[in-house]
């Protein structure tokens, strides 16, 4: 298993595979299926200061090779996450990355300050890229200066390293990445969902009650790979990559692009066992590639022109 162990700011991971925020709740449902301590880490659902109900339904719609969601950051609020969900997760001895969100800078600061004090929260994930809420969210993620300012404020209060989750809905992802690095981010997570929409022919109206939603799943993988490839060459903080991962091969592709760890979102809905499956398959894939440790793959697509050993699936 040591071929898979990874160290990142605040995180000692036995493997680089974790469920992505919002696709795993707080882990309770998936604990029916497998032992959560198998996971590299868990990115828990976005937490806001107060409980939120989120958007009206329908909240999901399928698209070719992907899905749209407009959950709208439904969550039980800071207090309940701190007092109930996090203590419950403690039994699994797995690092928790707490996804934090809000409508104002103050919201983020409040949640960050408190959640970073939880004993099993190893890092924060600053969600400045949620496309499904009216205020905050994505607004912070599309303007470099706002992104940097918010990162700074959160860094000031956080007792654990801060990863900033980038939105792909921007002209220049590199400038946002550099801005949050300058703001003190310890790492990046990318990508959040692409803004999309589907219309229902039966009614002529959007399928989602929120009209637009966030696109995720295999269809966005090429966009994620491209952005991680670009950003990883321009920043010196690590990237946790996500966007359409369905297999151990996909995890390798994200590493080659420049990721140092990976998260699986949508595929958890298709196959609840996907994370442990990928973790189990990774060593064999690495062996085929002729690498001893998965971290050797990070950025390999641009770091050196040394080709990998010939690989056959």
């Amino acid at each position: 298993m040591s071929a898979l162990s990874i160290e990142l700011p605040g995180l000692k991971l036995k493997n680089p595979v974790m469920p992505a925020s919002g696709c795993f709740g707080f882990g309770r449902e998936f604990s029916q299926f497998y032992d959560l301590s198998l996971l590299g880490a868990i990115m828990i659902k976005a937490t806001t200061p107060e409980p939120r109900f989120g958007n009206p339904t329908p909240r999901v719609a399928e698209t070719p090779g992907g899905m749209l969601n407009a959950i709208g950051l439904q969550n039980p609020g800071l207090k309940k996450v701190f007092n109930e969900e996090l203590p419950w997760l403690d039994q699994f001895n797995v690092p928790i990355i707490a996804n934090i969100a809000g409508s104002t800078e103050n919201d983020y600061v409040t949640v960050a300050e408190q959640l970073s004090k939880a004993p099993n929260v190893s890092a924060l994930e600053l969600n400045i890229s949620c496309p499904n809420v009216k205020t905050g969210g994505i607004a912070f993620g599309t303007d470099p200066e706002m992104a940097k300012g918010l990162t700074k404020k959160v860094k000031e209060v956080s007792e654990v390293p801060v990863y900033v989750k980038l939105s792909p809905n921007v002209t220049d992802i590199v400038s946002i990445a550099k801005a949050v690095e300058n703001g003190g981010a310890d790492g990046l997570t990318m990508i959040n969902t692409l803004l999309g929409m589907r219309l229902d022919l039966a009614t002529g109206q959007p399928i989602l009650a929120n009209k637009t939603g966030g696109l995720s799943g295999p269809s966005v993988k090429p966009v994620a790979i491209r952005m991680i490839y670009e950003v990883s060459q321009q920043v010196s903080i690590p990237i946790i990559g996500m966007g359409g991962i369905q297999s151990a091969e996909d995890v390798v592709e994200f590493f080659l692009a420049g990721a140092s760890a990976t998260a699986v979102g949508t595929q958890n809905f298709v196959d609840p066992f996907i994370c442990p499956k990928i973790i189990q398959e990774l060593p064999e894939v690495l062996a085929k590639l002729g690498v001893d440790h998965i971290s050797e793959l990070t950025g390999r697509s641009w770091k050196k022109n040394e080709r990998l050993a010939y690989y056959r699936p």
Binding site: G22, Q32, F53, T57, N69, I71, Q74, F269
Partner: protein
């Protein structure tokens, strides 16, 4: 317990206009007990389509179970093409079904099914009758060509049929029939307007409704399928159709 299993197709036949009856075999059937639960079905091999499809369990047998579905889009089209020997990836049983024991032996239950809300009524009727409950089925369809399981439900008691266009049975909606019946309890599954009408109609002392909502995970993790509770219709409290439901007591959630 919820299981994921690659089930084998035992049979697949068309039983009405665009309606198919698919019998699957697998150890997963041993986990099934409560009528009204559903399975989450991967209809294709790759990512076309990507998500699973929620389909009610219509009948549970030794080593097999039956689902009935309407060919609607890509997913159900792929299911309709399945032939014996092919395999289907099934996750289930999911959710909380109809409370069978809420009805005492000797009492009367009306089972209301609208369109593809009919399927769970078959297993429910079977179990109720086994418990000594008198079962009346009231099923509604668009038109004569859409009717299915009238005879199958007839094994367990009287069956009334309504069609919207009046081409068979009572013209109109199931509620037209409910006005003339009496029962201790109503169990219903069908389109939301039908469920609302039944809730508002107060046709029995106790009513249980099975809801439909677009789903992501089907297991309670993604928050795609939430609804407000009647106690707190604008607030933060909620129920998930997939894992708290799909069956709720009338009055419990906002529909």
């Amino acid at each position: 317990m919820i299981k994921q299993e690659i089930c084998k197709v035992v049979s697949n036949r068309q039983i009405a206009d665009n309606i198919f009856e698919l019998v699957l075999s697998g150890g997963i059937s041993a986990e099934m007990g409560q009528p009204g639960q559903f399975v989450h079905v991967k209809t294709g091999g790759g990512f076309d389509p990507l998500l699973r499809r929620p389909i009610s369990i219509a009948s549970i047998n030794e080593g097999t179970f039956t689902i009935l579905f309407r060919w609607q889009g890509r997913g159900t089209a792929l299911l309709a093409e399945k032939i014996p020997g092919m395999s289907v990836d099934v996750l289930g049983p999911l959710g909380n079904g109809f409370p069978v024991l809420e009805t005492k032996p000797g009492e009367t239950a009306i089972l209301v099914g609208g369109g593809v809300g009919v399927p769970p009524m078959y297993e429910l009727a079977k179990q109720l009758v086994k418990n000594g409950v008198k079962v009346i089925s009231v099923i509604g369809f668009q038109s004569a060509k859409d009717i299915f399981y009238e005879q199958e439900l007839g094994e367990f008691g009287e069956v009334y049929v309504a069609t919207v266009d009046g081409s068979y049975g009572q013209k109109g909606f199931v509620t037209a029939i409910l006005n003339d019946l009496e029962a201790d309890i109503i169990y219903a599954c069908g389109p939301t307007p039908m469920l609302r009408a039944i809730e508002n109609g107060n046709y029995a002392a106790k009513t249980y409704l099975s809801l439909e909502e677009r789903m992501g995970c089907g297991i309670g993790a993604c928050f795609a399928c939430v609804c407000h509770t009647k106690a707190d219709p604008k607030g933060f409290s909620y129920k998930k159709v997939c894992s708290d439901g799909p069956v709720f007591k009338a009055g419990e959630v906002v529909i």
